[in-house]
Chain length 360, copies 4
C-alpha cells in the first residue's frame, strides 16, 4: 500500500478512541500505515554513497596507533555506515563492509560465528588469516573466505601494517535473528606462513576435486581465490572478445564470478562476489537489480553514477548500490572492480525479480 | 563480538578526535560496537507476546463500523505489533500477522505485490479471495494462499461480517528491500462464489498433478488447503499412533506441514505453515529454532510457555515465538494449533542451525 | 556411424590377418560396425505391438488352474514379450509389463528387490498387496506402488480370482546390472484387509505431509493412487476446459501425472505414470519421445497408430510405443488410458531430447 | 526370482498347450524364467578382463597402415569387446572404450551425437580435437571432453602418429534407445593449433566462472583437464597426507574426481572420471560398487585383482570391473591410474546401493 491512502475515515472521537485501543492491544491499523510498508518498488533506507580509500586508510592507521586489538574488541575494523541507516555500521540493509587494519606482528584473536565473511585485499600483504587451523596468506587482489561456523583469526607476520576489506552478512543475519558467536583461542593457533593454504592445495585445481568428502557443501571449501587467476581469467575474456568469441559481458567488459567448486554456485549462501574489468572508455549500465551491492575499485579510475548522483572513483574507493538503484559505470582508464552483493538471498527466495509486466 | 569488550583504549583527546573523524567519514569502529552486533546467540528485539482473540475481534468489529475499506487503504487489517519492535506493525522480525475484517457485501480491492501472503480462517465463512481471477472460498480451518506477484482481492458475499488471519513476509521483504506493489482492479474481477476454486479443481487431488505446466513452481499452485483434509490427516496420525505405527510427532501429537505439490517443499519461498494437534494433557517441548514463528490456537486450550513466561491460551489467541526462544506447549483439553514460520528463509540460506559443538 | 560406411579398405590378406588379430585381442574395429552402433535416430529393437486383454485374461485363468504360486516361482505373472526383443520377457528395452493372476485365497510370497514396481488394476478387486507390512487394497482403476527395496507380497482375500498389470524397470536394471533380490516371509506377514493403507492415511491428503520424516524420498511414500481421485481430476480438467480455463492437455483431452509428494516429481526414480482421458472423437498426436512407453486402455475404445501400423483398441488392451516411434490416438468413444514410461531415466541423464536443429 | 524355482507344476499336455499359447500371444511366464531375470545380486554378463597396451598399440599401428579414416567409417578406433558380451564392441554393459589412432596429417571428420564422449591420452601429443569449433590440444595425461550434441572431429597436426583412449556411453544410450547421430563437416572446420582451447581460457581458472551464461549446464563446459593440474592435485594430496592432514583417500592413496564447474558434479551426465595415485606398496580395496568401471594404468605397475582373478598391470593396460565385482589394487611401484565409470547413471536413478541390511 504505497503512497497516500485516499479513503480515510473522517477524524472523530470514536476513531481516536479506537486507535488508542489498538495501541493498547499492540495493534497497528494497516490503513494508516505510511507508504513505507509496501512501496511500489524497493525504497531502501540505504542510500548511494562513496567512501574514499584516501580517507579510510589514514584513519585506519591512526586507529592502529591508538587502539589495541585483542579479545573483546576482537578486530580493529572500521565499518562503512550507510548515511541512510541511522548510524548503524551497515553498508547496505544486508551487507557489512569494513576496513580492517593489523599492525606489524599484531594478532586478531580467533572466534567463530554463523555470519559468513570474506576479505578482499586492495593492497599489501603479510597477514595470514587462519581458518579452522589453516593459515591463508593474504595478498593484493586475493579474495579470502571465512564461511559461517569456521574459527578464524588473523596475524601479521611482517613488520609492515596491512589493511583490507572485510565483507559480511551481519545486517542480514541480524535482521533474521540468526547470529551465533563464540570465542576461540586468544592466540593464533598456527602462525606458520605458507604461501598456499591447505584448502588451496586440495581445491584450487581447475575442474578437479578430491574424490572423497561431501558431494556438496553450503559454502566454498576453497579459502583463497588468488589474483593471478582472477587477472588471467579477465585477460582471457577480453582476448576472446577481441577474437569475436563469446564469454565476456561485452566487447570491452570482462567479468568473473567466484564460485563454490562443490556446487558451481555462489561462494557463500548469502553473498555473491564478482570481479569486473572495463577497458578505458567502456561503459556498463546493468539492469537494475533487486538487492544491494558494494563495489571497490581495485585499480584504474572512472565514474560511477548511482541513482541521480555521479562520483569520480579511483583505486580503493568503495561505493554502495542500494536495491533497485540505477547504476552506470564509465571507465576513464582501464578499470578493475571487485563487487559483492546479496544476490543469493534474493534468488534462493524467489525475490530477485520485480513484478512481471501486465498482460493487457 | 558480544558482551563488554575488555581491551578498550584509554580515553584521550587523540582518541576523541579520531572518533569524530570516523563519524565524519561515515565509519563506525567495530571495537566500540555493543554486544548487539554479533551476540553469542540470536538476541531478537521481538519478544514473546500473546494477542487475545477476545480482544482483537471486537476491535476489528469497531473498525468495521468506523473505517471504510477501499483503494488506498486497501485492507481493513489490524497488524500485530510486537512490543519489542518499537511500534512497527510486525509480529516478528520477519513475519507479518494481522486480523482482517470484511463486512457484509464489502470488497477489498485488487492489487499484487512480491510479498508472499496467506490467510488462515479461525471462524466464519462467506468471503471469497480472488487470486489472479480465481475465486477461492474461505471457510473455518482453511489455509488460503496468495503467493507473491498474484493479483488478489477479497469480497464478502454474505450478510455477515468475517474476520481472519493474514500472514505475510512483509518485514522480511522490507529488510532485504525486495518489495514491489501494484494496484489492480478497484472492483473484484469475478464475484462468483464457487465452492471450489479452479486451483483446487486442478491441484487438490492427492499425489496427482496436471500432466502439463512447469515441472516446478516457486510457490504452491494450490490456493486452498481445506480444513476437512487437515483434520482428516491429523485424525489419522493419532489413530496410527494408537496402533503403534509411525507418522505422528509423538503418541499424543499429530502434525502436518502444508506443501507445494510441485516440489514437496514449503508452500511459499519464505513461509512454512503447519498444523498441530495435541491431545488433552499432552506436552510439546520442541528443540529451540533459529527463526521465528507465529501460532494461533484453532480450538481447545492449554498453556504456552515462551522463554520465561507462560500464558493460558484458547481459541483464536495468537502468540509469537522469537528466534531461539524456548517454547513449551501443554494441552489442557485437545488443542489444535495453526503455526507459520520463516523456516524456509533460514534453511535455504544455511542459517537454520547454531554453531556446532566444539570438538575437544 | 550409421548406414553403410563409404571408405572401406580393399580386402587383402594383410587386412584379414589384422582382423583375426583384433578378434584374438578382443577388439572390434569401429569402421566395420554396422549402422546399429550409432544410428541417426533411436533404432529400437523393440517394435510397436498390441496385446489383447481378451486373450491375456483367459490364459492367465488357465495358468491359475495349472500353475501353483509360491516360493521360487514367486509370482503367477505373464510378461509381455516384445516381438523385437528375441523372446525376452520385456515389453520395451527398459520396461517390464506383465499380467499377474491370483486365485481365491492364494498368496504370492514376500520378497524385495532394487527393481521398482507398480500395479495397475484394470478390473476386479479383493487382493491386498502388502508393502513393508502395510496392506494395500487393490481395486479397479487404482495405481499401487512398490518402490525398490521394499518387501512385498500379495494375497487374495476373496473367493474370486483377480488379475492386474505389473509394471517394473527390470529390463533397465538388468541393462545396468543393478538388480538385487532377496526372499522375505513365505506367508504374508499381515493378512488384514483394511480399506485404506497406512501409507494413504499418512500421505493421501492433498497438499499435506507429515511434519516429520525425511524432506525428500527417492520414491513416493504414497502406496496407492485411488481411482476416485484420478477420475475426479480428469473430470475437473475437462470441465475447466469447457469453461475456457487452462489445465487440460487440450479441449478434449485431460491428463494427470502421478507424483511423489515429497518432491513433486515422478513416482519412481525410473518410471513415470500418467492417466489420459480423450473425449469421443478426440485425437492426440504427441511429439515423438526419446524413451519408450506402455499404454493400457482402461475403458472406451479407439485407434492407436504407432509408427506405420494402426490398431483398434478397447478395454484392457495393452500397446507399446518404442523410443522415437510416432504415436497417434483417436477415441471412438470416450477413451481412458493408463500409461507408464521410462521418461525419468532419460530426463535425469539429459538424454530426453534429440539433437538440436542446426544453426545455418 | 533368482536360482532354481522350487514349485513348478508337473509337466502335462495341458501345460504344454498353455505354454504354446503363451508363446503365440507373445507372453513369457515369469515362473519359468531362469535366475537371470532378477538375481540375488548383479550378475553382469561382462567379465573382468585386461587389455594390454603392448598388444593394442601395434594393432592400431597396423590399422593405420591398412585402413583409411574418413566419412562413413568416421574413426580409426578399436573398441574393447568384453569377452562376456558376445562380441559386442562394449567394454562393460554401459561403457564403450576404444583405442583411436590418427596418423601424421590425418583427419577424422566432424560429426555429433547424443552419446557423451571423452578422450584420455596415455602418451604422445599433436592431435587437436575440435569441439563445436574450438580446437583442443591433446597431450599426455590430459582428459578431453566431447559432451553429447557437440560437433567434433580430430586432426593430427604433426608428422608422428598418435593413439589415445576414447570413452563413451554408447552401450548405455543404445540400451535405452536414446542415440541420435549427425554428420558434420568432412574437413575439420578449424585446423589451428592453439596450446589452450577457448573453453580452457574461459573455464580453467580455479573457483572462477564467467559472470554470464547459464547457471548450470548438464555437462562440463571445460573441454580439457590438463595433466599438470591433475598431477599437482595428486601430489598435494599425498603431501597433505604426509603432514597428517585430510584430503587424500588414504595415507598412500591420492584421488581426484573431474567435475563440471557449473555444478560441482560429474563431468558428463552418464560418466564419472577419476584419477588415482597409489604409492609403491600401497593397496586399495574399495567397497564393491553397483555399476561398472574401466581403468587404465597411466604409469607405474602393480597388481589388479578383480573378482577371482589377478593380473599384473603396467603402463597403458586397461581393465574392466563389472558391476558388483570385487576389486583390489596393489602398487608395485608408484601407480597412477585413470578410471571412468557409469556411477552418475546409478546415483541419479537411486540404484547405486544394494538392498539395506535386514532389521531383525
Amino acid at each position: 500500500m504505497p503512497s497516500s491512502p485516499t479513503e480515510q475515515p473522517a477524524p472523530s472521537d470514536q476513531l481516536r478512541a479506537l486507535h488508542q485501543d489498538f495501541a493498547h492491544q499492540r495493534l497497528v491499523p494497516l490503513w494508516t500505515a505510511t507508504g513505507d510498508l509496501m512501496p511500489h518498488h524497493p525504497a531502501p533506507r540505504a542510500v548511494p554513497h562513496v567512501w574514499r580509500w584516501g580517507r579510510l586508510l589514514p584513519l585506519a592507521e591512526r586507529a592502529g596507533e591508538l587502539v589495541p586489538v585483542g579479545r573483546g574488541g576482537e578486530r580493529r575494523a572500521l565499518a562503512l555506515a550507510n548515511p541512510g541507516l541511522g548510524g548503524l555500521p551497515y553498508a547496505t540493509s544486508t551487507l557489512w563492509a569494513a576496513i580492517q587494519y593489523l599492525g606489524p606482528g599484531e594478532q586478531a584473536p580467533e572466534h567463530r560465528h554463523t555470519q559468513n565473511a570474506f576479505r578482499f585485499v586492495i593492497e599489501g600483504e603479510g597477514v595470514w588469516t587462519v581458518v579452522d587451523g589453516d593459515p591463508v596468506a593474504m595478498r593484493r587482489g586475493d579474495l579470502l573466505l571465512t564461511p559461517g561456523r569456521h574459527f578464524h583469526g588473523h596475524h601479521n607476520a611482517t613488520d609492515a601494517p596491512m589493511a583490507w576489506l572485510d565483507g559480511l552478512d551481519v545486517p542480514f543475519t541480524t535482521a533474521v535473528d540468526a547470529g551465533f558467536f563464540e570465542y576461540g583461542a586468544e592466540r593464533i593457533t598456527d602462525i606458520s606462513t605458507p604461501a598456499r593454504s591447505r584448502s588451496e592445495r586440495l581445491w584450487a585445481h581447475p575442474g578437479l576435486r578430491p574424490a572423497t568428502g561431501p558431494a556438496e557443501l553450503p559454502a566454498s571449501p576453497l579459502a583463497a581465490y588468488r589474483w593471478e587467476h582472477t587477472d588471467a581469467a579477465l585477460t582471457e575474456q577480453l582476448a576472446l572478445a577481441d577474437e569475436g568469441l563469446p564469454g565476456a559481458l561485452g566487447p570491452d567488459h570482462a567479468a568473473v564470478r567466484f564460485t563454490n567448486p562443490t556446487t558451481g554456485g555462489d561462494i557463500l549462501p548469502t553473498i555473491r562476489a564478482e570481479f569486473h574489468r572495463l577497458r578505458a572508455e567502456a561503459e556498463f549500465v546493468p539492469e537494475r537489480e533487486v538487492g544491494s551491492a558494494v563495489w571497490q575499485v581495485f585499480q584504474g579510475s572512472g565514474t560511477a553514477r548511482i541513482g541521480e548522483q555521479a562520483w569520480r572513483v579511483s583505486r580503493g574507493d568503495l561505493f554502495v548500490v542500494p536495491s533497485w538503484a540505477g547504476l552506470s559505470l564509465a571507465a576513464a582508464e582501464e578499470l578493475d572492480l571487485f563487487r559483492f552483493s546479496d544476490a543469493p538471498i534474493l534468488e534462493r527466495l524467489d525475490l530477485a525479480t520485480p513484478l512481471p509486466k501486465r498482460t493487457p
